[in-house]
Symmetry: C2
Subunit: 474 residues, 2 copies
């Protein structure tokens, strides 16, 4: 071979090797796009558990207030009720799920909601894989069945009408067409639950949620044309007819037609007359929260205004102002006002704690969040004073626990924690009648200033009903 | 050049070209893994709207039953209430979202729930991208702020403590370490809402949900140790004291201590005495559902058994059997029995329809779903006869609308559609007292067989309250 030929050969070889090396590095780069699944960090299946909560100084440890001989049975019964509570309040829709990276699968991650027993198309299912001679996907569910179109040629479908559906085709386009026609139908009638669908291709797997819900009929209130069709005043009375009458007269002075509902558990009930005044007679001394729950159960208007029987309306008691804030903030449930300058409010600090022990609750007097956007005179809190406007349906859903017969107040807001959005505004004020011993029935004090046993009862109630370990009243 | 040299040159060239072509095809194959986003089908932002529902033969068109002069105002007020209803019952957590294919992003798609105003780590955020000189990701939220660790060298973080967070690093490992430390905190106190987080890298974008919820205090009932601490019997009476007394005697025959709550709106109330019997006196003729709501508002046990005041207990009236089914099926809310062989039940077929017009509702007599697993004598339905065991908290959350003063029954189950899981079992039977004209107060018939106007009132109520266009009673 001549020198020239060798040189040419060398040049060609070097050029080829260079090009080969550059292609090789390009391929290596692309390969890094798909990290082998084994190199990824393992994904958690649930959010980290908060662990037990701390009952620091100032907390009453509730188990110390339970009758010792009953303690074990109470704990056992409470644990059983708590399991039922969990079954009723959680489903697979609470599970932590992830979209993994570099998966050729496309699928819905939120918003796919179906009616029970009703076949519904699954939106957005697609496969975006590289060229293969054949493509095969698997879909599986637990609480329902899957169907798709009957395929034309070049595709096979196995498991139509069952819980596991396998679609195979040599054409990606045809496979995606069949995926676009996949429907899910749940097989057990349930009003509020979920299923998880598994979507697989080769070594790729995605899990996505299916929400199964029976749609609700709306339940709306007609606001009518004036305050009387929007708000009902509710109160509870016990042995305080003179105070009650002062209250009623003051209401009528400013609101001549507004409906007033009175729950009355006095020993010798006195008939209260008056247009648009509804009095309900309860078994004597049946109780404070029983009476509150009764009064609220009779309301037909969108809102009710809670007042105590010894309040007195003044020119600053403008119900319309509270209605205005409610109407502008549809997600609000309760707005507290001020009782003769006393604007009591509190926040509730609640930690769920561990399942066996229970939670920790701190009622923080004067605790609050931030002001209501657009309403600087109002701010958000967890609970307010006993003078408030409430959305009737929201308050009824929480309820006033009739087991609380004597003193109670915060318990309504505790039972409503997470259900009631509460605010307090300082520009609506109701007066408070002076206490006059000579008018008040002597039995009243005995019931209002309960023996120690009533407070013990409340702590026992918090232990069981609210699944608490300790509670602190700040 | 000699023939041999040319041949060698040719062979080397052919070999190189062959190798080049095969590498090229390999690269092309890998390139297909990442389909350019523009080639994918556009994803929907919401499930397809069902459109208007059909009021076929047999349906009462509700707007025909409204006073014509008030029609426009009613429609306007109803539309306003419906907007508030939507604001209260939906959030970004209803939006349809998808995981797109071949994205280098990993993120949570379900289960990431945070408390309001509380900084919480976002689990599972990772980038799995190919080799680059530098990696830059962007995270943005709407209703909160994002933070992460202060980075060491080789990384920059912009926007910590704000709504848009940008992390940049030349090292993928360092970037992923910072992503693993990203926390979100909502900035507006809300008890039940959501935010959407956007996660971006180059031309890839993912959107995932953040559920913002104030945890609830559980509200549990102590079942105690016997039927008396588990079930309260509730009833409403009006002008039928002889029937009521027969009922009470029959209850006491089989259940000597069980509590009975009576809501009484008779004109001249008669005092009903007896241990564990609580009678509540209402304004005269206040109404049927008002009385039902009252009685149920006073229940302190986990379950209540609804009975009408002219029922009579027999040896087949075994409340314990209904409790057993409830306890075994914690998600059930109401179990109906049989009234002297009459096991009335129905299903409700509801279509939401279009926003302006309203929905279509069909009460299908003898409509039902399937049997209760493990309880072949029971099956699921939407509504049952007026003899049922109910979970007190679930029934109170729905409520008996006090506007329904005269005849009503299905309305409780209509208002409860989607909230109450209802079953009927055939092995628990209550008797029904024979009607005897001579004992019944003559005014009773007048109230029980209402004038046409009462039915018109109910249709008006369905129009507004339940946002319906038409209703059919099958």
């Amino acid at each position: 071979m001549g020198v020239l030929s060798r040189a040419r050969l060398l040049v060609v070889a070097v050029v080829c090797v260079t090009i080969l090396l550059s292609f090789y590095s390009v391929i290596l780069t692309h390969k890094e796009v798909s990290t082998a699944p084994s190199q990824r960090s393992p994904l958690p299946s649930h959010l980290p558990s908060p662990g037990p909560c701390n009952c620091t100084k100032g907390y009453a440890i509730l188990k110390d207030h339970l009758p010792k001989e009953k303690y074990e049975e109470l704990v056992k019964r409470r644990a059983k009720e708590f399991q039922q509570h969990k079954a009723r309040t959680s489903s697979v829709l609470s599970r932590l799920l992830f979209a993994v990276a570099n998966s050729p699968l496309q699928y819905p991650i939120q918003g796919y909601t179906v009616r029970p027993l009703t076949s519904t198309l699954i939106p957005g299912l697609e496969l975006h894989a590289g060229k293969r001679s054949s493509y095969k996907v698997l879909l599986s569910v637990s609480k329902g069945i899957l169907t798709t179109e009957i395929p034309a040629e070049e595709a096979t479908v196995k498991g139509a009408g069952e819980a596991v559906l396998i679609i195979e085709s040599s054409s990606l386009g045809i496979l995606n067409h069949l995926l676009a026609k996949v429907s899910y139908a749940s097989t057990v009638y349930h009003i509020n639950t979920g299923d998880l669908a598994s979507f697989q291709f080769e070594n790729h797997k995605a899990v996505f949620p299916i929400a199964i819900k029976q749609p609700h009929l709306p339940v709306l209130y007609d606001m009518g044309t004036n305050i009387n069709s929007q708000v009902t005043i509710t109160t509870k009375t016990f042995l305080r007819y003179s105070e009650l009458k002062v209250l009623l007269n003051s209401i009528r002075h400013f609101y001549s037609k507004i409906k007033v509902i009175i729950a009355d558990d006095s020993f010798e009930p006195e008939h209260i007359t008056g247009e648009n005044i509804q009095q309900y007679i309860m078994p004597p001394a049946q109780g404070w929260f029983a009476g509150r729950n009764l009064a609220v159960s009779q309301v037909t208007t969108k809102y009710f205004l809670w007042v105590d029987d010894d309040f007195v309306f003044t020119e600053k008691t403008k119900i319309e102002k509270l209605v205005e804030v409610m109407e502008a903030n549809p997600e609000l449930d309760v707005i507290g006002g001020s009782v003769q300058g006393n604007r009591f409010y509190f926040s509730l600090v609640y930690e769920e704690g561990e399942e066996m022990d229970g939670g920790c609750l701190y009622r923080k007097s004067h605790g609050k969040f931030h002001s209501l956007p657009g309403y600087p005179q109002c701010f958000l809190a967890s609970g307010v004073v006993n003078f408030f406007l409430a959305r009737t349906d929201a308050a009824q859903k929480v309820g006033f626990d009739p087991q609380l017969q004597r003193t109670a107040h915060s318990e309504f807001f505790m039972d409503g924690l997470g259900s009631l959005l509460v605010a307090t505004c300082d520009d609506v004020v109701v007066g408070h009648q002076q206490k006059t011993d000579k008018d008040t029935d002597s039995r009243y004090k005995k019931f209002r200033n309960p023996e120690r046993s009533v407070n013990e009862f409340k702590l026992e109630l918090h232990f069981f009903k609210n699944h608490l370990k300790c509670i602190r009243y700040g």
